[in-house]
């Protein structure tokens, strides 16, 4: 069954999803269930002077109304920042209080103020209209670049500055710049995005007074982490009496990492009223209150020597944290961002500062790629500008500066174990027919279209590790992963993983790994995740960690199964454990034709009675059962990389951009299932193209979200895309036995730069994301008048 690894097996989970048999949180209905509806702030910034819920309490069907006063009285803790970072002056970052129901002030449109619990959703909504909140409206700050000069929006946080982070050596970098032959400068805006998972968030709190057990069903990427946070910080319920179930989850993209106010409140409310409390976000609530992503303003400079070699990089970024600091809000624009700014170039010295600022907008946090798309955008845009300014070919300039030898210790943080950057760039150049691009450009010109080409040669760091290091730089938890393999007596296998699949295809990929290792048919392997009562503590899925970290825990648990199986098989086959080989699901006694299948061995482990001549198959000291657990803490991140080449055509009259050609060559190390990986790449590229051309979370000056529905927030659609060409190169990762790197975010990380480099190539002047028709038209006009003047 060795051919399971690398084979295009159709996703086991697709049948249920495609036939509407998925079971999401919203599909769950419990006896005696009640419904919650949240009263949210209509203002971006205001003091709450009074919350009068007396009328709502009397409305039909209302069971209770909870406000900020209630959660204070009952000592429900606020929401936390899970990874705190330190500013360059050595001081801890500043986090404002973030109550699950606001008591004194609100800080963005959609901020949670009160909750009405009623017999029906309709009644809850009707009553919510009767909750009278008196606000004293204050002026709000929205724009990232204006935050530090605005009055403090949170008491005690001067200049609305949460942290002022520095990575790298300022002195050395300045020295490099003083010796430079050429300095390239660039200003970029990384637009704010709304994650838009297909399934809106949802939560059901279910407290059972007789057992004192609390169950929370929630659309989460990491149920164990949620339970830890909610018991340790929100003080909702003790961990051993608290079960969190994240059933089928319809996409997360980072927006379902956080413990949200709604999760805590329905759990709390269920305990208060002794009945299940259900909340399902409406799409407009998702737009307003899911964590948003990106939102950076950046100035970057690149120093070159006379030999076209990069000798230094300087980057200054302001990152908009929004109104509060969420779980990964601070690490995303710092440690997940700054080290990645070096790209795949051999840059000897660099420094980066990041100011994390508060504004009256929805809080931001990790969003597909988390920090790496932002970094890749900066370096891939400035490298492109540099090549242009010195008049060198895009590919040639990149290759000249690529890291060539591995392992490579970068000047900031990462020690890249493996890669071959020329290989994927060469392959992408070939596949995209780069050499005939100028012909295509003139063909387009004949149709009155401007054609442009853009490169993005990216790397990224996924499977954040090792735990000791990440905890030393502020992480509240380690980032290992768990797995448990339970052989059932009849020979099929339940695999418990601490990761969580919400679209990634774990049911299939992990089954392929186990099938390959243990020689069990994948139909007989069940991948179990998403329930804190079922498997061991796990960290969940984000940052493209599941295969490299979670998959390795599974491999290690399989190895333990095999080791125990050998002992048992040895007894059954009347040999020594060291003389037993395991292959293709069979334990074979060396130099003999004696063998036992793993199913027979598993059966024997559970039923250690008489087996023919063998009295008991269990050797002395070996316990019955065949269950093994493993926790894996990787020694390093894994470093996927790749080359994207994009071509666009622009309508001169309207400024509309059309994607006409897109080529991807990725190095993900070992690919377990190319079909699953392809899906991840397509989706990732689409999301990256969305950021570059279409998506934009827009607040007006008063802080109203003006892109709060699909009528105004432009998602990319199938008809926006040409067929994307995908291929691979492979340098296996050395930090895990599978040789796997991550693939879940790569598309989103690389695509924005590839697309924008192509747009800017076509237009001939700078354009910021998203490159909407009007922006491109204005840039063309500006460029036209510049050319006319010249």
């Amino acid at each position: 069954m060795a051919d399971l690894i690398g084979s295009k097996i159709e996703r086991k989970e697709d049948r249920k999803f495609l036939t509407g048999k998925g079971r999401y949180t919203a599909d769950i209905n419990l006896p005696r269930q009640t419904y919650a509806y949240f009263v949210r702030s209509p203002h971006a910034r205001a003091k709450i002077t009074k919350v009068d819920h007396s009328k709502a309490m009397k409305a039909p069907g209302v069971i209770d109304v909870f406000t900020g006063d209630c959660v204070v009285k009952d000592k429900v803790g606020g929401l936390i920042c899970g990874w705190k970072i330190v500013s360059q002056d050595g001081k801890d970052m500043k986090c404002p209080p973030h109550p699950v129901l606001a008591k004194d002030s609100v800080n963005f449109v959609g901020d949670h103020v009160a909750v009405v619990v009623a017999e029906t959703l309709e009644q809850a909504k009707n009553a919510a209209e009767l909750v009278n909140v008196s606000y004293k409206i204050q002026k709000a700050v929205i724009k990232t670049e204006e935050a530090t000069s605005f009055e403090n929006i949170h008491e005690g946080i001067d200049n609305n500055l949460s942290f002022d982070f520095l990575l790298g050596d300022k002195g050395k970098t300045n020295e490099a710049f003083s010796k430079a032959d050429k300095i390239v400068k660039l200003d970029v805006v990384n637009n704010r995005l709304i994650p838009n998972a297909m399934e809106p968030r949802a939560a059901i709190g279910d407290y059972n007074a007789s057992s004192d057990e609390l169950t929370l069903y929630t659309a989460s990427q990491n149920p164990h982490l949620d339970r830890l946070i909610m018991s340790a910080f929100n003080a909702v319920h003790p961990e051993h009496k608290f079960r969190i179930v994240a059933p089928d989850v319809g996409g997360g993209f980072g927006s379902k990492i956080n413990v949200y106010a709604e999760d805590v409140v329905v759990a709390y409310a269920s305990k208060k009223i002794g009945r299940p409390v259900k909340w399902v976000a409406e799409r407009s609530e998702s737009f307003m209150s899911d964590n948003h992503g990106r939102d950076h303003v950046t100035h970057a400079e690149l120093a070159l020597n006379s030999d076209s070699k990069i000798i230094g990089l300087k980057v200054d970024t302001i990152a908009n944290l929004g109104a509060y600091s969420l779980v990964l809000a601070a690490v995303t624009p710092t440690y997940l961002y700054a080290p990645l700014l070096l790209g795949i170039y051999d840059i000897p010295t660099a420094c980066c500062t990041v100011k994390g600022v508060y504004t009256n907008t929805a809080p931001t946090d990790a969003y597909r790629g988390a920090g790496r798309p932002e970094a890749t955008y900066v370096i891939e845009r400035i490298v492109t500008e540099a090549a242009k300014e010195i008049g060198m070919d895009q590919a040639e300039f990149r290759k000249k500066n690529f890291i060539k030898k591995f392992p490579h210790q970068q000047c900031l943080v990462h020690n890249i174990d493996s890669g071959n950057y020329d290989a994927h760039l060469d392959k992408a150049i070939e596949l995209s027919d780069y050499k005939n691009f100028e012909n295509r450009r003139s063909q387009s010109a004949k149709k009155g279209k401007l054609r442009g080409i853009g490169f993005s040669t990216y790397f990224e760091a996924c499977g954040v590790a090792p735990s000791a290091v990440v905890m030393s730089i502020g992480a509240g938890v380690g980032l290992w992963e768990s797995a448990e393999i339970r052989f059932n007596p009849t020979g099929n296998v339940s695999v418990f993983t601490g990761t969580h699949s919400h679209g990634q295809g774990h049911d299939t990929t992990f089954a392929q790994i186990v099938g390959d290792k243990l020689g069990v048919a994948i139909e007989n392997i069940d991948i179990v995740h998403g329930d804190t009562d079922k498997g061991p503590f796990g960290m969940g899925t984000y940052g493209s960690r599941s295969l490299a970290v979670g998959g390795t825990a599974i491999v290690n648990a399989c190895d333990k199964i095999i080791a125990k199986g050998k002992k048992v098989a040895a007894k059954m086959l009347e040999g020594k454990p060291e003389d037993i080989d395991f292959k293709g699901g069979e334990f074979i006694l060396k130099n003999s034709n004696k063998k036992k299948t793993i199913g027979e061995v598993a059966f024997a482990c559970y039923l250690p009675g008489t087996f023919g001549d063998v009295k008991s198959p269990l050797p002395e000291g070996v316990e019955p059962g065949l269950i093994e657990t493993s926790f894996f803490d990787p020694s390093n991140f894994s470093f996927p990389s790749g080359s994207h080449i994009c071509e666009v055509e622009i309508d001169k009259e309207t400024g509309e951009t059309k994607l006409v050609k897109y080529t991807v060559v990725d190095d993900f190390g070992t690919v377990i299932n190319p079909l699953v990986v392809e899906g991840q790449v397509y989706g990732g590229v689409a999301q990256g193209v969305g950021q570059a051309l279409y998506e934009n979370a827009h607040y007006d000056e008063s802080g109203q979200l003006t892109s709060a529905s699909y009528m105004d927030y432009t998602m990319p659609r199938a008809d926006n895309f040409p067929q994307i060409k995908i291929d691979y190169t492979c340098t296996p990762a050395t930090s895990n036995p599978l040789g796997a790197k991550g693939c879940g975010e790569a598309g989103t990380i690389a695509a924005p730069a590839a697309v924008m480099n192509a747009v800017i190539d076509a237009v001939g002047t700078d354009v910021q994301m998203p490159a909407t028709a009007e922006k491109v038209w204005k840039a063309l006009k500006k460029n036209g008048s510049k050319k006319a003047a010249a």
Partner: protein
């Protein structure tokens, strides 16, 4: 959504009778239901007019094309007769929203709603349409009053829309990338009575452009639009397009519409 009574009359008389209290007509529900779900609107009674057979269908005579109020966008787009008589109209219907919206949304609902970015109002103005209601015949020139505002009185039901068959006509739309409503839509026609140019999406309500009509009356060709000055005053500015950009796009779409004639 707040509770309401749901009534399904099978003829227009019954519909008129059932229209009491804070009632409204329900056609495809594509505009009405989202507004109710978001609690921007609430009614005591919804009168579903989709069961009234006489309100649906397409009828052609030599001079006019009549489309029943509850005829869906998809039906208009698929109709061979419409394609043959006024092909720009079938193209317009085919470009509304997405397949779901086209399969539910109706022409009557679209013009009664008079969304400033809707497509059909431009066709009505450019093709000198008559709006036949339960009470009277309203010329399109008098029908569209302003943003989401028409000449319809309370309880007045649109029964059909009658378009004049033009010598030539064309429609070009620059769609909103998110909703695919018109950021700017320009409908150009050459009627017996003269040239008409109606513009939707660009201002608070659909309007006729005197400047473009004059230019095209002199010379019905795309090039005659080059020298027309379209000012941005009075045009919409929003997150999708500034007034300045809309003014520019009006010309680009007008040329496209004329070329397609």
């Amino acid at each position: 959504m707040k509770n309401f009574n749901f009534k399904s009359p099978t003829n227009t008389k019954e519909a008129a009778k059932l229209y009491t209290g804070k009632a409204t007509f329900l056609a495809g529900g594509m505009s009405l239901l989202p507004a109710m779900k978001l609690r921007l609107a609430a009614y005591s009674d919804l009168i579903n007019i989709k069961k009234i057979k006489t309100l649906s269908g397409i009828k052609i005579s030599s001079k006019s094309l009549r489309i029943g109020a509850t005829t869906t966008h998809a039906e208009v787009a698929a109709s061979k007769e419409v394609e043959k008589t006024i092909s720009s109209l079938s193209k317009l219907a085919d470009g509304i929203g997405d397949p779901q919206v086209r399969n539910r949304g109706t022409i009557g609902g679209s013009i009664a709603n008079n969304d400033p970015a809707a497509d059909y109002p431009s066709a009505c103005l450019a093709l000198n349409a008559i709006i036949n209601t339960s009470k009277r015949k309203i010329p399109a020139d008098k029908f569209f009053k302003g943003m989401f505002e028409t000449d319809l009185k309370k309880g007045e039901l649109i029964e059909s829309v009658e378009f004049e068959v033009p010598e030539k006509s064309g429609y070009a739309k620059f769609p909103n990338p998110a909703s695919r409503y018109a950021v700017v839509g320009v409908y150009v026609s050459k009627l017996k009575s003269g040239i008409r140019v109606a513009i939707t999406g660009a201002a608070h309500s659909v309007f006729r452009s005197k400047e473009l009509e004059e230019a095209l009356t002199n010379n019905f060709s795309p090039s005659s639009i080059d020298n027309v000055k379209i000012g941005s005053k009075g045009l919409n500015s929003d997150i999708h397009a500034s007034a300045e950009y809309r003014a520019h796009i009006i010309k680009v779409m007008a040329k496209k519409a004329v070329s397609s004639c």
